[in-house]
């Protein structure tokens, strides 16, 4: 850390420079008064630094915090790892660019895991911009690192269909009623890996990366619950994860919640399949834990300071 601070002294100088006006205000009106009348833009600035500094540190040094995968991450990993080469897997990417920060690392890790296990990947989406997310992940993972995988034989992008949960209800009984072509316009009968696939019930696993509605709750309600043979694992945003905990483990075999879940799952995938020098694109979740740590500590500090002020003022009024 000392070496980093010495080498990147200009970042430290900018950081100190931006906080000088705040320090001067503290000195001029006193700490208590300055805190009472603190403009929230100073809080925004502190939050900016608490995210920016760790990102820069990790970017320069390549160091990340150690990660201890939880039981849920292990169950998610085990659900994929138990599958045999050639098993069909449905990946539904139900998120948009707004949630990409939280969900893209787990989507990347899922696709890497599926590619390493040589599973047949059927991509789809219930969100209009989902196909873009699919394409980005395919361009990021499959094209550069698994060039042997052939579109139409090893993976296919079925694209987006409107209808929210109605889509799930239809494809669990007859996928071709809705999907007559893939996202490129190729007819189903012309796609080799669609031969013999008539419904989602033939999938060995459904992997859902979900940012909201429609998402994991709908997959649980309309796929995993009515069809007990369907196995479902999901990755969700932090806000959505508490809502789907009740479904673990019966309807939801594994759950990755927020960037923490993504980091834990990445660790498992990288440790098993990443090799000695994994590509940085498979470490995004782990890298983002640094800013998360510092930001959480900042929020805790703000809460403590605010409560200190509250009790100090309360005592002053009491006197």
């Amino acid at each position: 850390m000392g070496d980093f601070l010495r080498d990147q002294w200009w970042v430290v100088a900018i950081f100190i420079g931006t906080l000088v006006p705040l320090v001067r205000r503290f000195a001029s009106v006193g700490a208590m008064e300055a805190l009472r009348t603190l403009d929230r833009r100073w809080i925004f600035l502190l939050m900016l630094w608490s995210v920016l500094f760790p990102i820069y540190f990790i970017g320069v040094t390549g160091r990340t915090f150690p990660e201890l995968p939880s039981a849920l991450a292990h169950s998610t990993f085990d659900e994929l790892d138990r599958l045999a080469p050639g098993d069909p897997v449905l990946l539904s990417f139900d998120y948009d660019p707004a949630s990409e920060g939280e969900l893209q690392p787990m989507a990347t890790a899922f696709v890497k895991h599926c590619a390493e296990k040589k599973l047949k990947m059927y991509f789809m989406s219930l969100w209009p911009v989902g196909p873009q997310m699919v394409q980005n992940t395919v361009d990021k993972v499959i094209r550069p690192d698994y060039p042997r995988l052939v579109y139409g034989q090893d993976y296919v992008n079925l694209g987006y269909k409107s209808g929210n949960e109605a889509v799930i209800r239809v494809i669990t009984t007859n996928i071709r009623e809705l999907y007559t072509t893939d996202s490129r316009g190729t007819a189903m009968q012309d796609i080799p890996m669609m031969n013999g696939i008539t419904s989602v019930q033939q999938m060995k696993l459904i992997i859902n990366v979900s940012a909201g509605y429609p998402g994991v709750k709908e997959w649980v309600q309309y796929a995993a619950t009515p069809y007990a043979t369907l196995h479902l694992v999901a990755g969700t945003t932090g806000v959505q994860a508490p809502l789907v905990y009740p479904y673990v483990p019966r309807q939801l075999r594994g759950l990755l919640g927020a960037i923490k879940g993504a980091a834990e799952y990445e660790k498992l995938v990288i440790d098993t399949y990443g090799g000695p020098n994994p590509d940085p694109k498979y470490l995004e979740g782990l890298r983002r834990m640094g800013p998360q740590l510092v930001a959480h500590l900042l929020i805790i500090m703000l809460i403590l300071v605010a409560n200190f002020l509250y009790f100090a003022d309360k005592r002053a009024v009491g006197r």
């Binding site: 603190l38 929230r40 809080i43 925004f44 502190l46 939050m47 900016l48 995210v51 915090f65 150690p66 990660e67 201890l68 939880s70 039981a71 849920l72 948009d96 660019p97 707004a98 949630s99 990409e100 920060g101 911009v129 196909p131 873009q132 394409q135 361009d139 409107s162 209808g163 929210n164 949960e165 109605a166 209800r169 996202s183 490129r184 316009g185 190729t186 994860a241 508490p242 905990y245 009740p246 673990v248 919640g257 927020a258 923490k260 834990m289 998360q292 740590l293 930001a295 959480h296 500590l297 900042l298 929020i299 805790i300 703000l302 809460i303 300071v305 605010a306 409560n307 509250y310 009790f311």
Partner: protein, 237 residues
């Protein structure tokens, strides 16, 4: 008549779809009607788009304050519509190479793809990223230990905030049976495990209670609307 017909349509369609759920022959009716709604909503976009054009053109013609932003809105709206519908820059589909418009408008390298990748995506992520700043300012302003319940809430918040990061792991890493055998009964007190327990048990219990209340509220509201007791969505009598 003006109110009776919509009420009758609501009641007949609503109760029919409820009944259809229980009759094997008609169980797919709900999905079909959901798709009808999507078609309706897509057509209704013409109303919304027309309203958007009208209101922003009016702002420009009246030179209301901020009318320059209305120009940006209209240019973006019409530009995206044009490149999407026209499939500008999209290569023809390999199945139909002779037809210029057979390609996918979202194809990598098309104008629509560029506007999505380099305009829409960063802008959406930027607005979403504002949440981090607002959470910090809300935490500073609103989280006060005013009473016992608030104090418990804050303590829980600290546990979860720390448990979701390496700090939580590091702070309670000493609770390890390798250090003392007795700790094997206390591994649940490690912050990362406590976090999972809080989310999976306490938080789930609270969420379930709220969800049950919401579900009952939805049943009652839907019934009131179907039988015509609540007609405020149609406008007052």
């Amino acid at each position: 008549m003006k109110r009776t017909v919509p009420l009758l349509i609501t009641a007949v369609v609503g109760f029919t779809l409820i009944g259809a759920y229980f009759v094997p022959y008609t169980q797919s009716w709900g999905e079909t009607v959901a798709i009808w709604f999507d078609v309706l909503a897509a057509i209704a976009f013409i109303l919304g788009g027309g309203n958007l054009l009208r209101s922003h053109l009016k702002r420009i013609s009246d030179q209301q304050s901020g009318w320059a932003y209305s120009i940006i809105v209209l240019v973006s709206f019409l530009g995206t519509l044009f490149v999407g519908l026209g499939k500008i820059g999209a290569a023809p589909s390999p199945q139909f190479p002779d037809y210029g418009w057979s390609g996918n408008y979202r194809q990598t390298g098309s104008a629509f793809w560029y506007s999505y990748q380099y305009a829409f995506q960063p802008l959406t992520a930027t607005i979403f990223a504002l949440l981090a700043f607002y959470i910090a300012s809300a935490a500073f302003r609103a989280f006060r230990a005013k009473n016992l319940e608030a104090s418990l809430l804050l303590a829980t918040a600290f546990i979860v905030l720390l448990g979701r990061t390496f700090a939580g792991v590091a702070l309670t890493a000493w609770i390890d049976p390798a250090n003392w055998q007795g700790f094997r009964y206390f591994t649940g007190l490690r912050l990362e495990n406590l976090t999972v327990y809080i989310m999976a048990v306490f938080n789930t219990a609270g969420n379930r209670a709220i969800m049950i209340g919401i579900a009952l509220g939805i049943v009652a509201t839907s019934l009131k609307i179907l039988i015509g007791v609540d007609r405020s969505y149609l406008g007052k009598d």
